[in-house]
């Protein structure tokens, strides 16, 4: 378990002190994948570096499995660091060493003998799918392969924690997916606690169990990814999520005036969010069957996954007698889903080429 208590970090800047972190409290449970998201300059890189003391917090405690990292001597700290693997945005491999030597590096630092090193390195290369590249140099590898070497190297000393500092930010989307898949695999196979720093909500959505949104050196919002995704509180969080989730209305309803009360000839727009098993239920079909006098039109629909939980989003438009609409809404309310009224909007005539 990693506990960050009141972490503050202040640098001496050219125009006076710079407060990078202003009191961060965070608890990361063993075996969890914890995502920390923020814009550049928010302090997330400083924060992850405080976990293995690459940056010493100005104030506060970093407690890993009951031990306060800020109180360790230099040699105790070096020992403790061997239990914390780290991977980087720019991989940071030794360019003058082969893939094999890069993975063997932490073992050599620990003065392990050659036969034992080989016994450890080869299975790791197999795990990351690079057995055939053992004697190549990093310059001969693609970005994704370099990060795989980075992961194998981080795992070599048998750590309990893996820190990922923007580990996929320099990779293309497909490579990102495969690297994230590998991280998730390792998390499960080795029961590793993983801390992920990123500026991409996609990364959080794909692999994280929990997320903290960091802004201006403080945590703006934190919770399970599912909660934060489906019910974001802070504008910044909403902005991160909106990159992934298109909330655009169809052209026929966009730009029109949204009113809180029914206007003749308008549609009531409702946003529905289904989480988990309810995403598979035929809720909408049931509502239409029981309320045939409400004209229902589907305006937007999307089924996605947060980590492995199905997550569906829909915008429907309803028009009809107010009483009938109320009946339809109470039907929806009785189901396991969350519902948000957007308002009453009139349909406009638009030509096809208006986007």
């Amino acid at each position: 378990m990693i506990e960050l208590k009141g972490i503050e970090k202040t640098y001496a800047g050219e125009d006076g002190p710079v407060h990078a972190l202003k009191g961060i409290d965070l608890t990361i449970q063993t075996g969890e994948i914890y995502g920390i998201i923020g814009l550049s300059g928010a302090g997330k890189s400083t924060l992850i570096r405080c976990i293995n003391m690459l940056e010493r917090p100005t104030k506060g405690q970093v407690i890993i499995d009951g031990r306060d990292m800020t109180k360790l001597s230099e040699s105790e700290l070096r020992k403790a660091r061997k239990e914390i693997g780290m991977i980087f945005q720019h991989f940071n491999l030794l360019s003058s060493s082969t893939v094999y030597e890069n993975v063997a590096f932490p073992l050599r630092l620990a003065h392990m003998d050659e036969a034992e090193i080989q016994k450890k390195v080869m299975p790791l290369l197999e795990l990351v799918g690079l057995s055939g590249k053992a004697h190549q140099y990093p310059a001969q590898l693609s970005g994704g392969q370099k990060q795989r070497v980075g992961i194998a190297r981080a795992l070599a000393s048998g750590p309990k924690i893996l820190l990922c500092d923007e580990a996929t930010s320099a990779l293309d989307p497909q490579t990102t997916k495969s690297i994230l898949g590998l991280i998730q695999d390792i998390n499960q196979k080795m029961h590793l606690t993983v801390v992920v720093i990123t500026h991409e909500m996609q990364v959080i959505k794909d692999i994280c169990d929990k997320v903290a949104v960091i802004d201006g050196g403080v945590i703006a919002e934190k919770g399970t990814v599912l909660d934060v995704f489906t019910n974001p509180q802070q504008p910044l969080t909403k902005e991160f999520i909106s990159v992934l989730l298109s909330n655009d209305l169809p052209a026929a309803f966009r730009g029109g005036e949204v009113s809180d009360t029914p206007v003749p000839g308008s549609y009531l727009l409702v946003r529905l969010t289904f989480i988990g098993d309810s995403a598979d239920d035929p809720v909408l079909a049931g509502m239409i069957r029981e309320n045939p006098d409400v004209e229902t039109t589907m305006l937007f629909g999307n089924l996605d996954q947060i980590k492995r939980t199905p997550y569906g989003r829909m915008i429907v438009g309803m028009t009809g007698e107010p009483a009938a609409i109320d009946r339809a809404l109470s039907y929806l309310k009785s189901k396991n889903l969350s519902m948000e009224m957007i308002g009453y909007v009139k349909r406009r005539e638009v030509s096809g080429d208006v986007a």
Binding site: R81, K82, F88, S96, L109, A139
Partner: protein, 217 residues
């Protein structure tokens, strides 16, 4: 071309190579650690120690600002103290070494500075000690660049060793002055210049090859 030219040249070439070779080895043994210290004791580096860094930098700059011909004469008492004489090939090596150490140190410092900070940070994150970082990260990562820089040092040593002829150091420079200039032997002068050009070309060629082999980036 008179027949004495071949033995003259080969003896002088032998002396030059001997001076440059031995001076280079001793200067490198001292210069590389000094260069490492210059880099690692600087601000935000793994062995940060500003007072030491300032002293080292000042000494290095001081020695580097003295023209070689003056340095050579100025340290004659020191040379006499070290090798018991102030003339001859061995005596000429002392100023050559003194002049090369700070040169190598600065070149090595520059090479190590080029090693990406992230690679050093990664080693720190793996629990490497400062000595391990120097030995396993900085020097191997900078080795191609260091090889290229040392080639430059060797070439400037060839030039300085010619000046060392002025205090009876022997070598090609001495030959060119005594025969080519003072005895009006244009043939000796020309031969010396050609041999020097070939020597420098060979050193540069070998240096480039070694740097290229070491460079895996």
């Amino acid at each position: 071309m008179s027949p004495d030219i071949v033995p003259l040249i080969s003896k002088a070439l032998g002396e030059t190579v001997y001076m440059v070779f031995v001076a280079m080895i001793i200067a490198t043994i001292i210069g590389i650690p000094l260069g490492v210290l210059l880099h690692t004791t600087a601000k935000h580096q793994i062995l940060e120690c500003m007072p030491l860094n300032r002293v080292l930098a000042a000494v290095v700059n001081a020695v580097r600002s003295i023209p070689f011909i003056i340095l050579m004469v100025a340290i004659i008492p020191f040379t006499r103290f070290v090798v018991n004489t102030s003339i001859g090939t061995t005596a000429a090596m002392v100023p050559l070494i003194i002049a090369s150490i700070p040169f190598i140190a600065r070149q090595v410092e520059t090479s190590i500075k080029e090693v990406p900070e992230g690679v050093v940070e990664a080693a720190e994150a793996m629990g490497a000690s400062p000595l391990q970082i120097i030995w396993h990260v900085m020097l191997p990562e900078a080795r191609a660049s260091i090889a290229a820089q040392l080639t430059t040092v060797i070439i400037s040593l060839v030039g300085e060793s010619a000046m060392a002829g002025a205090i009876g150091g022997g070598g090609l420079g001495d030959l060119a002055i005594r025969y080519g200039y003072q005895r009006f032997r244009a043939d000796v002068m020309l031969a010396t210049v050609i041999v020097l050009i070939i020597l420098v070309q060979l050193v540069q060629f070998a240096g480039n090859r070694i740097a290229k082999t070491l460079d895996k980036r």
